[in-house]
């Protein structure tokens, strides 16, 4: 606002200069009249006008330079400014030039028309006429003076004064003066007694009279109008004397002669000033022309700037909007159509800005929602898959990757068929999804058995249709979870219940059976014949043996169902493994033991862990029985960054049928002819009680490897 006011004030300077120059031009034109009071100011006014012209010209040059700079920069509005300036200039230059040309021509012709040969001749002739008329007069006066000198011949200087006085009274001379040869006044007399100093001739006159003896001349006099001065040598005077007689020209004749003289002089002066007059008028006209052009050009720049400024602002505004600045507001300094346009622009940017803010807020809300969902999804223990209507995978989460143990994030935008091709293990999974989602049920649930790395897993799948805000279906969502531990624990609980009942129901009658058999043997020993006694002994022994075996089996069941209380402590796994391996050194031909140094301690019950290791080694020992080059390898190591020690017990025996590997740790699953099938189930249970895992991996061409991971104490 301040800048705008300042700019307006700056415009006042040239406007003031222009008005001053116009005023000075008016004064100049007024000054050309000879009677004007501004006559003396004429030169100053010209100087002022020239300075003003230079100022306006400099202003114009500055403006042109500014326009050129704008044009070079391809600035907004430079072209329209140029057009306006050229238009203004053209509009002003044509009429002013025409007026200037015709005014100049008219002026020159008018000035020339004042002078012509006839007037010139008339003026000269009138002057000659006057001179002739005066000549006649002067000749008679000369004759009169000569006569006076004759009267003064042989007069001494002493009597000259008296003689002159008497002679003046006899003639029409107003003054008589006698001079010496050097011009010294000898005697003088005047009609006016108050005039003491005579009108003396100049040196030239004296010289002429000395040379020719006579001089006659007409002179203007301040007091008497025209006077006639006659100088005649006084003859027979010794030393040489001269008489000067001054006569006044009669008043009527003098006035006429003055009139002619004044008119001729004025005409002559006017004629002489002809070119100067033309020059002065042309100069004034030129200044008017230059002022008009400069003023028009300057006004064109002012007008163009005023016109272009809102356009420039609008362009800047649109550029700012294009660059994303929707807060741009333009100043409205006008109330015309351009001001209305600027107002409209401001309204538009205001609306855009509000809409953008709303969109931004909505986007931010969506992003927040997305981030929230991402966070929830990534931290969900359930696997989540988002699938579109064309059965393409759109989203997945980390849990899905963990559960399926497959990098599904690399399959985004893959169709389910393509995923099945890429990961064949998922073929059943994807087929199920296609089938379920294609059935167009809003929600469905399915338990899916899935084998990963020879481990049987149970997945609980929940599918639902996904709807957009407009209630149209946009895809499907699958939520699944690995329920294997739950299923396993349910199964274990069931088996524990069975084992406990078996132990309870079977163990109770076994003791009376055994005692009864032993009592029969003891009571009947020696009372029967030998044959019968042998049969009795054999039968009772068999009963006792079988009962003992059954007790052992029932104890196993009891252990599985209700294991003894664990007493974990910090132990070094390496020495424990070595100690147990030593027990089997003599029994196994090829027993390789490899235990890494500096194994970290583990928190475990040594008795229970010993039970695990012995169980597994016995298993391996039984597997290699009957094989010539059977061997068992026991190793213990601490893989970096796992936080657990790894114990492997591998054999190259006939091992386990691959079809049974998935169920090997389940109760009553065994490949041996003898055995309860609870050994590996108990092993797994003990390891899991210690927070570890046990897996089995087949070895090519034959054999299996049991891998135990137990948490290490690293602190």
């Amino acid at each position: 606002m301040v800048t705008k006011t300042l700019r307006k004030r700056l415009y006042l300077i040239p406007a003031g200069v222009l008005l001053s120059l116009l005023l000075s031009l008016y004064l100049m034109s007024h000054a050309t009249q000879s009677s004007s009071q501004f006559n003396e100011l004429f030169s100053s006014l010209i100087l002022l006008n020239i300075i003003g012209t230079v100022f306006l010209f400099a202003l114009l040059l500055i403006n042109i330079h500014w326009l050129w700079q704008q044009f070079k920069k391809q600035a907004v509005g430079s072209r329209i400014t140029l057009k306006i300036v050229l238009l203004f200039f053209a509009i002003s230059v044509i009429p002013t030039s025409i007026v200037f040309y015709f005014s100049s021509q008219l002026l020159h012709q008018s000035v020339d028309s004042w002078f012509n040969v006839q007037i010139d001749d008339a003026m000269k002739n009138s002057l000659k006429l006057s001179q002739r008329s005066l000549d006649n007069r002067t000749r008679s006066l000369m004759k009169e003076t000569r006569q006076l000198t004759e009267a003064l011949e042989n007069e001494s200087d002493m009597f000259l004064s008296l003689s002159l006085a008497s002679l003046r009274e006899q003639t029409s001379a107003s003054e008589l003066t006698a001079f010496s040869k050097q011009g010294r006044i000898i005697a003088t007399t005047n009609l006016d007694p108050g005039v003491l100093i005579p009108n003396t001739p100049d040196d030239a006159m004296l010289l002429l009279v000395r040379q020719s003896g006579e001089f006659i001349g007409i002179e203007p006099s301040a007091r008497e109008g025209l006077i006639v001065r006659t100088l005649v040598e006084i003859k027979n005077s010794n030393p040489k004397r001269y008489l000067q007689a001054i006569y006044s020209v009669p008043r009527d004749l003098g006035e006429l002669a003055d009139s002619v003289e004044n008119a001729y002089t004025a005409y002559q002066e006017f004629n002489y000033l002809r070119q100067s007059l033309k020059f002065s008028f042309t100069l004034t006209l030129s200044l008017v022309l230059v002022f008009s052009l400069l003023a028009a050009s300057w006004a064109a720049f002012v007008f163009a700037r005023e016109l272009v400024e809102p356009l420039r602002q609008l362009v800047k505004g649109t550029q700012a909007v294009a660059q994303g600045d929707y807060e741009k507001k333009l100043e409205v300094g006008r109330k015309d159509e351009l001001g209305f346009l600027v107002n409209s622009f401001n309204d538009m940017t205001s609306h855009i800005s509000n809409a953008r803010k709303e969109a931004y807020n909505a986007q931010r809300d969506a992003e927040d929602q997305h981030a929230y969902l991402e966070t929830v999804l990534s931290h969900l223990s359930n696997g989540v898959l988002g699938i579109d209507l064309s059965m393409r995978l759109k989203t997945t989460n980390h849990a899905a990757h963990q559960i399926l143990e497959l990098p599904l994030t690399a399959c985004i935008e893959y169709s389910l068929e393509e995923i099945a091709v890429k990961f064949p293990s998922l073929e059943g999974f994807t087929s199920l999804l296609i089938e379920k989602f294609s059935s167009h049920k809003k929600e469905w649930q399915h338990e899916f058995a899935y084998t990963i790395d020879h481990q049987k897993r149970t997945l609980l799948l929940k599918g639902t249709a996904l709807f957009a805000a407009d209630k149209t279906q946009s895809g499907y969502v699958l939520i699944f979870d690995d329920v294997t531990p739950i299923v396993q624990s349910q199964r274990n609980a069931a088996w524990s219940e069975v084992a406990q009942r078996l132990a309870h129901e079977i163990k109770n009658p076994l003791t009376p059976i055994q005692l009864s058999a032993e009592r029969l043997q003891r009571k009947l020993h020696g009372k029967l014949d030998d044959e019968a006694d042998k049969i009795l002994k054999k039968s009772t022994d068999t009963i006792v043996q079988q009962v003992t075996a059954m007790k052992s089996m029932v104890n196993d069941f009891s252990d599985f169902a209700r294991p003894p209380q664990s007493k974990p402590q910090n132990i070094a796994a390496g020495p424990l493994i070595e100690q147990i391996a030593t027990l089997y050194q003599g029994q196994i031909k090829q027993l390789n033991v490899s235990i890494e140094d500096d194994l970290p301690p583990i928190f475990a019950d040594p008795i229970r862990l010993r039970q695990v290791l012995i169980n597994l080694i016995k298993n391996a020992q039984e597997a290699i029985a009957g094989i010539d080059d059977g061997q068992i390898s026991i190793s213990a190591l601490y893989p970096p960054d796992t936080g657990s020690i790894e114990i492997c017990i591998a054999d190259n025996g006939l091992g386990v049928d691959n079809s049974k590997i998935e169920h090997i740790f389940e109760p009553y699953v065994t490949s041996k002819e003898k055995g309860t099938g609870l050994g590996l189930a108990i092993v797994k249970k003990i390891i899991e009680e210690h927070g570890g895992t046990i897996t089995i991996k087949p070895i090519e061409p034959q054999g299996v490897n049991f891998i135990i991971h137990l948490p290490a104490i690293t602190d």
């Binding site: 100049d202 002179e219 203007p220 006099s221 002489y272 002065s280």
Partner: protein
Amino acid sequence: MLLFIRPGLANDDANITIKTAKLSLQEQTYLLSSRIDYTLSEEALKALKNGITLTFNVELSIIEPRSWLWDRYHNSIHLSYQIKYHTLAQTYQATDVKNNVQHSFSRLEPALHSIGTLTEVPIHALLKHDDIDVYGSLTAYLNIEALPLPMRPMAYITPGWHLSSETFRWSLKP
């Protein structure tokens, strides 16, 4: 601007030269005596012959020179003299404008000599400056502003019209 266009003399002869100047004191009044030679340029002569009155100004100043400041002007007096050609009488009229004294001469040179000879011209406006060292300064020039108005613009840019003398300075110390 006038200084820029101020040229040299139109020809070697056209010039105004102050030969002598002095101020004498008589009964508390200063009397100026000076001898100034006026030589006219062709332009001035032509104008004179065509009835233009030429006005010469003689500017007398009393100056006190100062070491650290510009000179101080105590008094400044203008004397004006005119030369005019009378066509009918074919004489040159020399006029002392201030005293309204007019003389006619048959030739130009005596007329110029007449206006160039200042003999004990009383300068009543001058004050006595006994206590300080002052200088008299005399300049004579053709007054262009006294020319007819149409002539002035051309006169300012025509060298022949720039007739002026060098400043003649002399000490007034007795």
